[in-house]
Symmetry: C2
Subunit: 234 residues, 2 copies
Amino acid sequence: MTAPASRLAWTDVRDELRARILTRVYKLGDKLPRDADLAAAFGCTRTTVHRAMTDLASAGLIERVRKGGTHVKADPVTRATLDIPITRLEVQAAGCAYSHRVIDRKACPSPPHVMARFALTAPRAMLRLVALHLADDRPYILEDRWIDLGTCPEVADLDFAQISANEWLVRHKPYARVELRFGAAAAQGDIALHLGAAKGAALLVMERITWDAENPITFVQSYAPQGYEIRAQS
Amino acid sequence: MTAPASRLAWTDVRDELRARILTRVYKLGDKLPRDADLAAAFGCTRTTVHRAMTDLASAGLIERVRKGGTHVKADPVTRATLDIPITRLEVQAAGCAYSHRVIDRKACPSPPHVMARFALTAPRAMLRLVALHLADDRPYILEDRWIDLGTCPEVADLDFAQISANEWLVRHKPYARVELRFGAAAAQGDIALHLGAAKGAALLVMERITWDAENPITFVQSYAPQGYEIRAQS
DNA sequence: TCAGTGAATATGTATGCACATAAAAAGTCA
DNA sequence: TGACTTTTTATGTGCATACATATTCACTGA
């Protein structure tokens, strides 16, 4: 316990700056003092202030531009981080027995709506896989997945009976970039059937598109019955 | 163009490490070399490697513990960042005319389901506000909001006719912590009525809970008709 | 054998310095 | 005036070094 009273950690600087923003010492759109001046005021080096600033910038609270200086963001956004685990682990974390079932599987060229998601100009050979994840033998999530056979040729030889495509891909084909979309849809046709939902029932739809650099990996539309919830935190 | 060929930026180190993880040079669960060794191998300082590592850790690709070393995460998660703008700006960004309407407004103690969201043990005085956001005069989002009057006493004097509670709060009551939840629900009762949706229609439900330190600020349940979409990226 | 203690070690943080880079501001010249 | 160039400036990055801190691991003693 050396009690470094005069020594502020970068987190302290960050917290103090954040507090000043929250309490409107620095108002929306305001320009903050230069790093160097703040460093002098805080009694630390510019490096330390810089780290605090970088963190606040990544949190979406401020905006920094070279020479332009640092400004409190004028139009605040709610920024949160989303962690989506492998479905099997999610089910098991809830204390349920996990299982899954492949419902349909066929290789075919990517149809227009899949090409659009990947921003492709020409169709590519893909594997379409419809699978159901179950928790305690009750339908949990239905996924309608397209896997690029050019990027993932191995999947042609896998039947995904033991391991789900969800888990296999996350474990064997890490992506460099992912895009997620959330929406709601009414259950209909096969989707309602497999999920055991009434026709027209509200479903949460999650789309996930992943790339390895510029190559498509997979595009999934996941359908979860009412009650399913996705969480995110700041 | 000084071409600092022998000088690797921390982003280059990060990208190289990420590539090694993606190409399974370092497998899932593997222990990575020590920062110092990597620094020597890359011909840079430990500081630079450390920054690369920090970034990969925040991206959820690796896990670092003091003395324990750095490991490739064994159970990969899909991590993405969500940016939710002020609803008015979202509507206007889509090229629509924005308007909003307060539907209901009354002060009352927080009911059990609101207390549960804030993890409160005793009820607090709150303002309940039901409002509709419109895009080109068509229902866009219906929000059912609870505002803590202890934390935000000013709202008692506001009628939110000019500025929506959504925008007022984001601009005047920045939060320290936020929690988001997404789900689907069937439209019913007043919600269906105000959104102009058929009874039973699928809605996207977004819950947002914000705190200022340990004090509740607001809890909102937002209902969006089918077609509304939320996006996140890595 | 096993619990407790202490040394070794890998990551975390801070400092001081130097230079890179982008953008604004000032200066220049037709 | 107005287009162009140069200088200034605030942030971005890298290096060398020292110390902090949390675990692990080996050692110790009952």
